[in-house]
């Protein structure tokens, strides 16, 4: 019975290698979602089975045999299937350091709740590693003397996705059907371990191994994932150097010199080759470079333990706060999901300690394999095993400098399983195959499958997370169509199911905002911010919910939004809030900036002009007081106020005009005439000045002069009924009835219901009477 947890562990690993790369049914909005959840569920089972196996290995066998009867019934080879736990080594230390860094990073995260999924991913990765290392422990009898079942499983697990990919490739070009062509590439590159092992180990499968390796490389090439080419180059260089070291002792001095020079050329030419490759293909170096640059800049804060596992994407938003404008045009509007360099991403997630722990784990696992290859230790199959896994893992580690294999479920799983496999020490002597007696019997495997299923039960709460993404997927069409209100309850439900994702709270907030429930919207937005502190859109929408009721708050929230990324809508809203706060100067400055940033924005340009005109005409309070009295027709009070103002401000031309109008209405036409002339000298294009001067002259019976003034006024403003009417009246008194009629016709054309229509008709009748012979 002691072998059951180990067999259940193998069952879980085989299942994961089969299912996770293929689980791409378009069930959720995110094609990677289902894989992510499967990875976590199977990872929890792996963790439990690892713990059970480790306890059984560490537990003295005698304690499990309470009586002699049971002991006699036990199979003699049962203990051999579960060898005793070895002494602690560097890999155990690496695991301990990794777990400590993970725990500290999770607790120090800005949002511990949001860090839960990432922490779960990291824990399950380590669980897959530990389980693979434990249940495939072949130090004793078997080793890779014959093809281990795990190699067969990896072979089938690589061929199926490759064939699916090829079908889609020839059907639709580079497809996304398996999640992402990069993910396929990451997975196939790691799967290269199987064919290389088959090709290198002695036996009949060599040519099959070579053919499979070529096939996987070809499919990988078709994925157009340039990072894979980098990975293969990197792994080839590593293997070349290790192979040179392997044959070093058997080489003559001249051969050593030649090999040394070749190795040096390969190593030195590598970066140059990469440069040529990167600049001669569509390998998007500039975006990657920017992404690395700003990701690393995040480490100025939270240097040792990072922002929290799995929180890279949300943390990257923070870099937009200090991103240069030219970089912002490229990255500012993007959500950067991956750093495109897993080492940088691990450093951002778990800090420098987390990255060092990861590198230490890798080095402590790969170093013994390299030593076996160089020293030709163990059996030929062991050497093939070591170099095959080393090549695949080195290729993946090379690719990880440009892509994100350890942040997508399928390649992450395979990487940690292979790392676990390569960490197993080889057998020191030939022995009969272990697998035969361990795996024999369908009953034992059924028991193992049942145990695996039970081990997965504690992962049941994760189904709620999955149901949340399924609910969100149901709401997706309505949401994309902009009907946020209609699906707000679905998003609220999803947020209840999975409170670790800010997206659900944000979308609920959008629904509430669209429904006009601003307080509820604000609460949802604040929940989103508690999970994702640097979420530019949330700051914008917080501002929108305050637009009507709280301009000061709205202005600050738009400022916060603009600190991340400049958008025209946020700018316009900010300017509107400046206006609401009565700060025309600030509003004008903002509109001016909009007009420069977005030259097609006519509204901004128009607003700048309007605001500046308005600001130029800021009126002194004494003038405003006199104007108010004039508007109220309290001319006796308006006159001294205006006279005083003009005495104090003789150059304020509007004051002169106001006093002129007051005097005109008080009947002092002579004085008003002088003031109007002064006003016209200062503002010759104002039709009102000419109109009033015409009136002042008309009342002094200087009809020829008044006619000239009215004509001037009409010329400047040909659509003014009052000016046209006065001009017409003036024509009447100089007996120019034809011109009078033209003026009146224009007045009635502009406004057929003008108030002095009756007077016009009466004057026309009188004019007709006068003109009769």
């Amino acid at each position: 019975m002691r072998q059951i947890p180990a067999l259940a562990g193998r069952f879980i690993l085989y299942l994961a290698i089969f299912v996770i790369p293929l689980a791409n049914a378009p069930i959720t909005g995110d094609t990677l979602e289902i894989k992510t959840h499967l990875f976590r569920i199977l990872g929890v089972a792996a963790a439990i089975l690892y713990v059970a196996t480790a306890i059984l290995r560490a537990w003295p066998a005698a304690r499990l045999r309470p009586d002699a009867k049971t002991s006699r019934k036990q199979k003699p080879d049962d203990r051999a299937s579960l060898p005793p736990a070895p002494a602690l080594d560097a890999i155990d230390l690496a695991l301990v350091v990794s777990v400590i860094s993970l725990v500290v990073s999770s607790f120090a995260a800005e949002s511990r709740i949001a860090a839960i999924p990432g922490a779960l991913d990291a824990v399950t990765s380590l669980a897959f590693f530990s389980l693979a290392r434990t249940v495939f422990d072949v130090r004793g009898p078997a080793g890779p003397a014959r093809v281990p079942p795990v190699i067969s499983v990896i072979t089938i697990g690589s061929v199926l996705p490759a064939l699916f990919y090829l079908c889609d490739y020839f059907h639709t070009g580079i497809p996304d059907s398996l999640g992402n062509q990069n993910t396929v590439s990451h997975y196939l590159l790691l799967s290269m371990a199987a064919p290389i092992f088959l090709a290198l180990r002695p036996g009949r499968m060599r040519w099959f191994g070579v053919a499979l390796a070529v096939f996987l490389l070809w499919v990988n090439w078709l994925t157009a994932a340039r990072g894979a080419v980098v990975g293969v180059l990197f792994a080839s260089a590593i293997v070349a150097v290790l192979t040179a070291a392997r044959f070093w002792s058997s080489m003559s001095g001249r051969q050593r010199a030649v090999v040394g020079i070749v190795c040096a050329i390969v190593v030195l030419a590598g970066p140059a080759l990469l440069h040529v490759y990167a600049t001669s293909t569509d390998f998007n170096v500039s975006v990657r470079f920017l992404s690395w640059k700003y990701s690393i800049s995040l480490l100025n804060d939270r240097f040792w333990f990072g922002y929290g596992p799995g929180l890279f994407s949300t943390s990257f938003e923070k870099t937009k706060l200090w991103m240069a404008d030219k970089d912002s045009t490229l990255l500012g509007m993007l959500t950067v999901n991956y750093a495109h360099n897993d080492y940088v991403e691990i450093a951002v997630d778990q800090g420098v300690v987390g990255l060092a722990a990861f590198l230490f784990l890798v080095v402590s696992c790969l170093a013994p394999a390299a030593r076996i290859w160089i020293s030709r230790g163990g059996r030929p199959a062991d050497q093939a095993w070591s170099i095959a896994l080393l090549f695949a893992l080195a290729a993946s580690l090379g690719q990880a400098a440009f892509d994100f294999p350890y942040h997508t479920p399928a390649p992450r799983l395979l990487f940690y399983v292979l790392l676990g496999l390569v960490s197993i020490r080889p057998a020191k002597e030939e022995a009969p195959a272990e697998e035969a007696h361990v795996s024999s019997g369908a009953g034992v495997w059924s028991m193992a499958a049942l145990t695996a299923a039970f081990a997965a039960l504690p992962a049941a709460p994760l189904l709620a997370m999955y149901s949340a993404s399924a609910i969100s997927h149901v709401a997706e069409p309505q949401f994309k169509a902009g009907h946020y209100e209609e699906v707000k309850h679905l998003h609220a439900w999803a947020a209840g199911q999975d409170p670790t994702r800010s997206q659900y709270f944000f979308r609920t907030g959008l629904g509430e905002e669209q429904a006009g429930n601003f307080e509820a919207a604000r609460a949802s937005y604040r929940n989103a911010l508690s999970l994702e502190p640097y979420f530019p859109n949330v700051y914008f929408h917080l501002g929108v919910t305050s637009l009507e009721r709280n301009p000061p708050r709205a202005a600050s929230e738009f400022y916060a939004n603009l600190a991340f990324v400049p958008t025209p809508v946020a700018f316009h809203n900010l300017a509107a809030m400046c206006m609401a706060l009565g700060d025309s100067g600030a509003a004008s400055a903002v509109y001016r900036e909009i007009a420069r940033r977005y030259p097609d924005d006519d509204r901004a340009r128009h607003n700048v002009e309007a605001l500046e005109t308005q600001m130029r005409s800021v009126r002194p309070p004494e003038y405003v007081r006199a104007l108010e009295l004039y508007s109220q027709n309290r001319l006796d009070l308006a006159r001294p106020a205006a006279e005083q103002f003009v005495r104090d401000n003789p150059n304020y031309i509007d004051g002169v005009f106001l006093l002129g109008r007051i005097l005109f209405h008080l009947g002092n036409h002579d004085a008003s005439e002088r003031l109007f002339k002064t006003y016209i000298a200062g503002r010759p294009n104002d039709p009102e000045g000419h109109y009033y001067l015409g009136n002042a002259l008309y009342f002094q019976n200087r009809l020829r002069e008044s006619l000239a003034s009215f004509r001037e006024a009409v010329q400047i403003n040909p659509g003014s009924p009052k000016m046209l009417y006065n001009l017409g009246v003036n024509y009447y008194f100089v007996d120019d009835f034809r011109s009078m009629n033209d003026c009146f016709d224009t007045v009635l054309a502009v406004n057929p219901n003008v108030s002095f229509k009756d007077k016009i008709e009466e004057m026309r009748r009188t004019a007709r009477a006068k003109s009769r012979p």
Binding site: L299, F360, A367
Partner: protein, 138 residues
């Protein structure tokens, strides 16, 4: 690899990683938020009449450049200077000093500046302002 060797290897890796990433992170930040060009940009914005942008750039520099004091002294208006000093204190974790300065600015005639200072105070005192505003340059 035994435990002792493993411990030494880990310490070597940790030291190298910390030194490399620490140096790069600092260099990138200095490179990404260059004080001189930000100050020049702010001055140019002022000359174009984009006074709001000019001040936003000063705030950004006070928050993230390696020479915050240069941005404080670049502000012409005393209220603006006080606000930037508050930002500098916030950056250094001197919250009492920051709050005192923002309280002064909140009485300013410059309405928008006063509003921003008030919202910052509300967040510092009652957590009712703008979440995470201690990190956001506005």
């Amino acid at each position: 690899m035994n435990l002792k060797t493993g411990a030494i290897v880990f310490l070597v890796i940790l030291t190298l990683t910390a030194a490399a990433l620490g140096w790069i992170a600092h260099a990138v930040q200095t490179w990404a938020v260059p004080a001189e060009s930000l100050l020049a940009e702010s001055q140019a914005a002022n000359q174009r009449g984009e006074t709001d942008l000019a001040f936003r750039l000063l705030v950004k520099g006070a928050f993230y450049s390696d020479r915050p004091e240069a941005f404080v002294s670049a502000a012409a208006d005393p209220d603006h200077q006080e606000y930037l000093k508050g930002i500098e204190s916030l950056r250094r974790g001197q919250l009492d000093d920051a709050e005192r300065r923002f309280s002064r600015v909140a009485q300013s005639d410059s309405k928008l500046l006063a509003v921003r200072a008030q919202i910052r105070i509300e967040e510092m005192r009652y957590r009712t302002g703008i979440p995470n505003s201690a990190r956001i340059p506005f």
